[in-house]
């Protein structure tokens, strides 16, 4: 293992993945790395395999070949249960939309990952206080944290709660899948400011996926999906 492997937050090496079933397709990622604390934008159209790549990085799906190192640990070698636990400890996820459990309070939504990640929970200290620090920084009123269920919040508020959930307990890597697509231009800028600021505070590495190239200047680096991955489609036999 070279120095770069240790220094890099995320390394995908000769990764090969196949979806079975009717929409069978394969994804190959020969070499993709992100350095620690780096903010990377991954650009790609819908259907370019972005979501599949993210679920590989998060360890929800396992590749047939290759290795995926997060913070120096090869997730591919972990057993499924250990991988789930590793994800809970190391990775905070923000989705495109429908990020929150609609029936739970925003507070419970934020605290949810800690239930599966004891180390992260310990790091967070007083979890509720830590959550409030985050939501204060993200500009969410304290009153709405406990009372309302998450589905009463506006889309913008929901996305900020989702960021708080991804950041609580300072996970090593933040993975965001088109988190701004449901927001208008003004809110997008605002949202990114908050996201970057909080990642900097937590010292987390950020990988964000989008199809919007206009966001690229705000990141340390932007990568095109087609530059790092090859997609093979085959019609159903």
């Amino acid at each position: 293992m070279s120095d770069t492997d240790i220094r890099s937050a995320l390394t995908l090496d000769q990764v090969e993945f196949h979806w079975a079933g009717r929409n069978a397709f394969g994804l190959m990622v020969p070499d993709f790395r992100i350095a620690k604390r780096e903010r990377v934008l991954l650009l790609g159209e819908s259907g370019s395999g972005k979501s599949t790549l993210l679920s590989l990085i998060c360890g929800i799906n396992a590749p047939v070949r290759g290795s995926i190192l997060v913070d120096g640990t090869d997730m591919v070698t972990l057993r499924p249960a250990a991988r789930d636990c590793f994800r809970a400890e190391k990775i905070g996820v923000v989705f495109q939309q429908f990020n929150l459990l609609p029936y739970a309070s925003p507070m419970d939504n934020i605290l949810l990952p800690l239930r599966f990640a004891p180390e992260r929970r310990a790091r967070a200290g007083d979890a509720r206080a830590a959550a409030l620090v985050l939501t204060d920084a993200l500009g969410l009123a304290r009153g709405m944290m406990k009372s309302a269920t998450a589905d009463r919040l506006s889309v913008g508020q929901q996305q900020r709660v989702a960021v708080a959930r991804a950041l609580i307990g300072t996970p090593f890597l933040i993975v965001a899948d088109e988190p701004t697509s449901a927001l208008d231009a003004g809110s997008q800028t605002n949202f990114l400011d908050l996201l970057f600021a909080q990642c900097a505070v937590a010292g987390s590495t950020l990988l964000m996926v989008s199809h919007d190239e206009r966001l690229a200047p705000r990141f340390d680096r932007s990568v095109r999906m087609e530059d790092i991955a090859t997609l093979t489609r085959q019609a159903a036999a």
Binding site: I60, V93, Y103
Partner: protein
């Protein structure tokens, strides 16, 4: 317990469908326990019909038949016991007391039974409770009658009201010439006595003075005063209740009566015959339990269907849980937890419904069917039924939970909906 809180919140968020499902399961639980209560109540009530009588002797037929006509006043005796045999048995050293019973006539829809005044003392029910008089007292005149509580209530009789006995059971031939007087009304006992008109053995003879071969002798009427002067020893009785001096003698006495040389007799132990009879009634009981069991199963299947139908809308939710680190097994567990919570709430609701129903229905059931339903805590068996329902809920939720498991494995973080 954030997961428990989430499961609860998720259920509350879907309160309409969840509420209806819970209500269905609760109703089925209440029904099942209600059937169970009625069943045990009926069985106890049934077993309590007669106590403290060691043997019942009658003409030879079947033990259940003898019990049916002598105690329950259902059906008819095929053979009688001659008065000589009766005296013979009464004279035996083992016999402590003996009460004759003579059946065959009726008043309106109620059976008339001839017996001795000792009957009111010897007939016991519900482990030794004696009959009590609501009004009046036992007969002391030849044409006195004592009526059961149901007879009084149905026909609106009071003490001193007249009462005409009909010959046979469904007959238009009345014993008009010898009207009776209501001497006493018995308190409700929940036994067949409630539906019986009791007269003295001599009275049964008296009303048949002018009768021969089941029909009135034309033109012949004997006045009550003349009858009073007559010798009214019965020729035969229908059956007799016997108490022995020592319980050890019961079987010897039973055997000797079953082998009685002068005429074909039969003696039964009421407890054994009751059990035998319940064995026949028990088929209906089993059917009842089976049907209410089906209702519980149906309600649980409904719940499984409800969880199934919700799965597709909840794939997003499961993807979120997976993304924050929940294992597929955790998601499966969460769904089963929801089912168990629903079943537990349903069980509590069902038990409350049961006791509310019992509390409301009890006086009515007691009055209408003579069925005493005690309001007491759940028996061990009933408690086990409740536990079984909750376990069955967990088991049935296994199917939708397994599907959720597969969905969450397959979907991962990407849900296309």
């Amino acid at each position: 317990m954030i997961l428990l809180r989430l499961a609860l919140r998720s259920l509350i968020a879907r309160r309409l469908t969840v509420g209806l499902t819970i209500f269905a399961v609760a109703l089925s639980v209440a029904l099942f326990l209600g059937v169970e209560k009625v069943r045990t109540g009926a069985k106890a009530s049934f077993g309590d019909t007669i106590s403290d009588t060691d043997l019942i002797v009658g003409g030879r037929s079947g033990s259940v038949q003898l019990l049916l006509y002598s105690v329950f006043r259902i059906g008819n005796a095929t053979n009688n016991v001659s008065w000589e045999s009766y005296l013979d048995i009464a004279a035996r050293p083992e016999v402590d007391w003996i009460v004759p019973i003579s059946l065959g006539d009726s008043h309106r829809q109620f059976r008339v039974m001839g017996t001795t005044a000792e009957y009111f003392e010897r007939y016991r029910y519900r482990s030794g409770r004696p009959l009590e008089f609501d009004e009046g007292r036992a007969f002391d005149d030849l044409f006195d009658a004592v009526i059961g509580a149901d007879v009084a209530a149905t026909l609106g009789y009071d003490v001193d009201d007249p009462l005409v006995v009909a010959h046979g059971l469904a007959s238009f031939a009345n014993h008009d010439n010898q009207p009776f007087r209501v001497a006493g009304i018995l308190a409700k006992s929940g036994t067949p006595v409630d539906r019986t008109v009791i007269v003295s053995l001599e009275a049964i003879e008296a009303i048949h003075v002018d009768w021969q071969g089941g029909a009135q002798i034309p033109g012949q009427t004997t006045s009550p005063d003349k009858i009073r002067a007559m010798e009214l020893t019965p020729g035969a009785i229908t059956a007799a209740m016997i108490g022995v001096k020592s319980r050890l003698q019961i079987f010897a006495l039973q055997r000797s009566m079953n082998q009685y040389p002068e005429e074909p007799l039969m003696a039964v132990l009421p407890g054994v015959a009751l059990q035998e009879l319940w064995g026949i009634v028990g088929i209906a009981e089993t059917a009842l339990v089976a049907v209410s069991g089906m209702v519980v199963a149906t309600a649980l299947l409904g719940m499984a269907a409800m969880i199934f139908s919700g799965l597709n809308e909840r794939r997003r939710e499961m993807a979120i849980l997976r993304a924050v680190g929940a294992r597929p097994l955790t998601i499966m567990g969460l769904l089963m937890l929801e089912a168990v919570l629903m079943a537990a709430v349903a069980a509590v609701l069902g038990i409350s419904l049961l006791y509310m129903g019992l509390w409301i229905m009890r006086p009515y059931v007691d009055a209408a069917f003579g069925l005493y339903l005690p309001i007491e805590p759940l028996s061990l068996r009933e408690g086990l039924v409740v536990v079984a329902v909750i376990l069955a809920a967990a088991a049935t939720s296994l199917f939708p939970a397994l599907r959720a498991y597969r969905l969450s494995l397959g979907d991962g973080m990407t849900v296309r909906n």
